[in-house]
Amino acid sequence: MSQLSSSASAPTPQFPIHKRRLRFLGLTVEDCIKSFFGGNALISVVVLGLITFFLVKEGAGFLGQNRQNLAIYRLAGLEFVDHLRRQSEDHTALTRYLSDLRLRTLNQWTGPGGLTLEAANARLAEFDDYAARFGDAADPLRGMVSDLSEVATAIKTKFLVNEDKKEERRQLLAEGKVAEAGAVVITAVDFPAELRPLRDSLPAYREANREFSTRLGALLAAAPRLPEPELQRRMDRFAELGRTYVATFPGIERDLAVWDHARPVSAAEAFTAFIFGRQWLTASFWQDWYGVVPLLTGSFLVALVALSLAVPLGVGAAVYVNQIASQREQRFIKPGIEFISAFPSVVLGFFGIAVLGQALRAMSQLPWLSWVPGFPYSERLNILTAGCLLALIAVPTIFTLAEDALNNVPRALKEASLALGASRLQTTIRIIVPASLSGIISAVLLGLGRVVGETMVVLLCAGNRIAIPDFTQGLGFIVEPVHTMTGIIAQEMGEVVRGSIHYRALFMVGLVLFILSLTINYAAQHIVRRYRISIG
């Protein structure tokens, strides 16, 4: 034993293979390098975790606040009035249908070889009289809506003032100013009493409704006839719509009769009001709505237009470069396409406003292009403009990844196909593209992720109108302005009060966006992994 230890402590052992480590604060150099890289990785993971946590935390507060928001809507009787308002608005829609019909008739009659404007207007006198009577029929209803709106608004204001006072008192108490806190007068709102005018209006409403439906029934039965079959068809359609409208009256009455201001708003209701809400209406005098559907639709439509342009361009270019182009063309095309992604998106947006929007609008007004759905249009900034620019942003992503996927197809497959007497084109279409299809699909998905997350271009070029486009006109919706999820966050986040419901609603939108991107990316990766296995 002693022999062994003496040989180990010798300055130059026979077989010098022991590690000689430089120590620094008790750590070897390798430990330092390892912890440096490990630390970097850790930081990114921690940051990702924090972002997710923060998003969820801020967003989750929204549910409670929206629940309260909806509860006030119900408590103060705004919901009650909105039932009536909907009835009134449906009537207005019918009136609009009539005036649209009048315009069509006038256009047809004053067409080439037709009547003069005066003569046509004179011939429409009977129609105008009918339209006026139809419009006036709803006057009592409109009056009622406006009266009750005032009542409901007053209740809501009273409630909110009280809430503010409660908050004030709480703050004073927290500061220890008991006397001042005592001086703050809080009068709890007695909802049943306050809502009495609303409830009391019910018999009068029923009476008015009966008369309203009789008048409408009479009017619909005596609708004026138009000589042209096509116009008459529209007139018949109007009568049919009118009858459907009248048939909704008992339902509204029932809703009003069973309406209860104290019915609690569930958390699920607050959530569905967000996810399926068709209105995004903020800082309104009446009622704020935070429904993500218009924004989701906007994002989706813009992405759809962008992808339908970017997929053929990106994949087509990838196939060309990978299979057909000569070396010299490859050297020129590949950096060219990848260079597009070097443009800052705000520059692209600026280009979209100044050049592309103008050019597309000018093009839409060419007479020989009027067959294109939606053409001509006057809104320069719309889904189409934003989609075209986003396509430009997605093309480099799709191109690069699709080219990689094509490149990964084993050369042996290409040779096998050619050796069987296939042409280059047949080989590309039947072997190379199918073999790399999953890679191409994941390229498209990642392009979609890029497009959905893009902000600046859509903020500048999508038109920023918060509304669900009108799909009744077929493909024409692609020239309507929309707002998007990314756009609304960028636009409104700067001006909201921190912690307010609006602020939290924007976080919820961010959360939806995050989940969407995560799903898309996950799907893309999943497909790529499967593809690697299948190619072997």
């Binding site: 070396q327 084993p410 042996a412 497959l413 290409k414 040779e415 096998a416 196909s417 050619l418 050796a419 069987l420 007497g421 296939a422 042409s423 047949q426 039947r430 072997i431 199918p434 073999a435 299948s534 190619i535 072997g536």
Partner: protein
């Protein structure tokens, strides 16, 4: 567009035959008669010089490949045997910078490197099996019918019939007949290689080129493929490149030994292995280098 003529009209070129061209002809056969097995070679390679860019891969190759025989190309790595094989169906066209500087390759007397030759028609008649099995990532059935569909054959009954015939021809039918619809990627390496052979014979080529078809296979699978080559020799002209000298000795009728881009010796397989004329050949086949 001139295509390679079928087996029947093999008129020789008008120019007089060069003396060095037919080393294998033992007796004069009238050229107009459709040549039997021992007659005029099916493939005539003459004075071929081939370059990859600036480096010469083949020098002065002159060689005749006889029909319905198995011809083996042997030689150490880099000797040019695979390059010569790939010249026969012009697969070298795919590699940039390759060119034939001098000489010609004629099949049925037609120079396959003339600009008016349709390389697609050529490859239908000269099939190929590669070193590494390369089935398409499709079903077994689709792998076989791929070449046929390219030729416009759509009739399902006919396709099914050819699939069965080709798979039987490649001694694979019994193993896969119940799973023709499954992916070919699920087969074992040996099965995949036999599938590639079945795929090649499905389009009924005259010549099958095999580029080291067994180098990635285990001995059992190798034995099966070699057995298959013996079966196929009655219907096809087979050219096989191999590293394995026992394989060349077992399978082939004629053997060509290449070294550094030159054809050193070309003779009946038995002669090459038992009584080589050239000392280099002897050194190689006896395992002294390579």
């Amino acid at each position: 567009m001139v295509t390679v003529p079928s087996r029947l009209d093999s008129t020789p070129p008008a120019s007089g035959p060069a003396p060095a061209r037919r080393p294998t002809v033992v007796e004069g056969v009238p050229p107009s008669v459709p040549a039997p097995a021992a007659g005029q070679p099916l493939v005539e390679i003459e004075h071929l010089d081939f370059f990859y860019g600036a480096s010469q891969a083949l020098r002065e190759i002159t060689l005749g490949i006889e029909r319905q025989k198995v011809t083996a190309f042997i030689g150490p790595s880099g000797c040019g045997k695979s390059t010569l094989l790939r010249c026969l169906n012009r697969m070298n066209d795919l590699i940039e910078g390759t060119r034939i500087v001098r000489g010609s390759i004629r099949i049925h007397g037609v120079d396959i490197n003339q600009p008016d030759v349709d390389v697609i028609e050529l490859r239908k008649r000269v099939g190929m099996v590669f070193q590494k099995s390369n089935p398409f990532p499709k079903s077994i059935h689709e792998n076989i019918t791929y070449g046929l569909r390219l030729q416009g054959i759509r009739d399902k009954a006919k396709l099914d019939e050819i699939v069965e015939r080709s798979l039987r021809g490649a001694a694979l039918w019994d193993e896969v007949k119940d799973r023709l619809g499954e992916s070919a990627m699920g087969l074992s390496g040996g099965q995949q290689q036999r599938l590639c052979i079945a795929r090649a014979i499905a389009v009924e080529p005259e010549i099958i080129l095999m580029d080291e078809p067994c180098s990635a296979l285990d001995p059992v699978a190798t034995a099966k493929v070699e057995e298959l080559i013996q079966d196929l020799r009655s219907r096809f002209t087979i050219v096989i490149v191999t590293h394995n000298m026992q394989q060349a000795a077992r399978c082939s009728d004629r053997t060509a030994f290449f070294y550094l881009g030159k054809l050193i010796e070309y003779a009946d397989t038995r002669d090459i292995f038992t009584n080589p004329a050239n000392p280099q050949t002897e050194a190689y086949v006896s395992g002294r280098f390579g």
